[in-house]
Symmetry: C2
Subunit: 200 residues, 2 copies
């Protein structure tokens, strides 16, 4: 029994966050009330703004509050002619942190999953095909997850690219750097053998 219904509501509402159970939610609520009310108010304001204003980029489908996201707008990125296809906006973030890719992205917001009713249209492949036909890309890099669905989605998009005569590649799968051979699962090890590169 909480001493305040509003406090109970706050603890319940905090549980919409992933990885937050009853104990963490309680700890968060008390922390905000005891030590950081201004932080709580700021979070509330930004939450409302973000939930109501953030939509999808018209070109790459990632999250943005503008019509077109900052990456798609960037002329330096347009000049590279590279397009990286990923499943989720968080994947863009991970790739950007490596600093290795300076082209543009296309976010599927999922992967093909016919059993769940997710076909090519649901993951925006009509928009992707339209872009491939109308803009000039030198290479499409498929960076979907190395799962059955991710691989199937990559194959499907590869077909589209090949029909349009656009160079297409899949990111390498193998043993993670710093990992130990002994600890790696068989499928990954198989991938690392199939994808071996000749030393010249």
């Amino acid at each position: 029994m909480q001493t305040s219904p509003l406090l109970e509501n706050l603890i319940e509402a905090l549980r919409c966050l992933p990885g937050v159970g009853p104990k963490s939610a309680q700890r968060m609520a008390y922390h905000l009330l005891q030590r950081d009310r201004s932080g709580g108010m700021a979070l509330s304001r930004v939450l409302t703004e973000a939930m109501s204003q953030i939509g999808h980029c018209e070109q790459c489908r990632t999250f943005t509050e503008e019509d077109v996201c900052t990456i798609c707008c960037n002329p330096r990125r347009q000049n590279t002619g590279l397009l990286c296809v990923v499943e989720m906006p968080a994947d863009i973030q991970a790739i950007e942190q490596t600093g290795q890719f300076s082209g543009r992205y296309f976010v599927l917001m999922g992967h093909l999953s016919p059993l769940d009713g997710i076909g090519p249209k649901e993951i925006g492949l009509d928009l992707l095909q339209h872009r491939l036909e109308t803009e000039s890309f030198t290479e499409v890099i498929l960076a979907t997850n190395p799962t059955i669905e991710g691989d199937a989605t990559a194959n499907y998009i590869a077909e589209i690219c090949l029909q349009l005569g656009i160079k297409v590649s899949r990111i390498a799968h193998g043993i993670p750097v710093g990992g130990e051979l002994e600890m790696v699962d068989g499928t990954t090890l198989t991938h690392s053998f199939i994808g071996r590169r000749q030393i010249e």
Copy 2:
């Protein structure tokens, strides 16, 4: 580099929550945007309400949006004549879950700490003394934390109670139920010997 400044703001704002670092904040932001926008909006509303409306109970100083909290209002709890003194509102929650205590509480919102400028007044001991003098309590149970500061605070309050001729007790400290003797630290073990109870 995020694709959206508003998304960056949201991730930054989520970090005001305890135990939430950059990675968790990003995961939370994407989760809300992708799967639970209505949950995010609800959280925002409750946050504003809670941060602006929740104050302290006039009688026990715990968190409540009313003048007096639901526990202090409850006539059945008033009749027991028991008053439990705790450091934090979260302590009330922990004690309530045991179902063993049916009296009222007094929340210090901290403990005596002269070096930090926290004296008797800062932890509401003037209000506590006033209540002890004007209301009739049969027993005051001191449930401050078993730390140096918590013990000192308990001793200080015990003095007040004794001067007013009110029975006062301290909760037992010893080996946690389910714990192993071998694993318990020396101070706890000492407490468990000092606080031993005769079997009759």
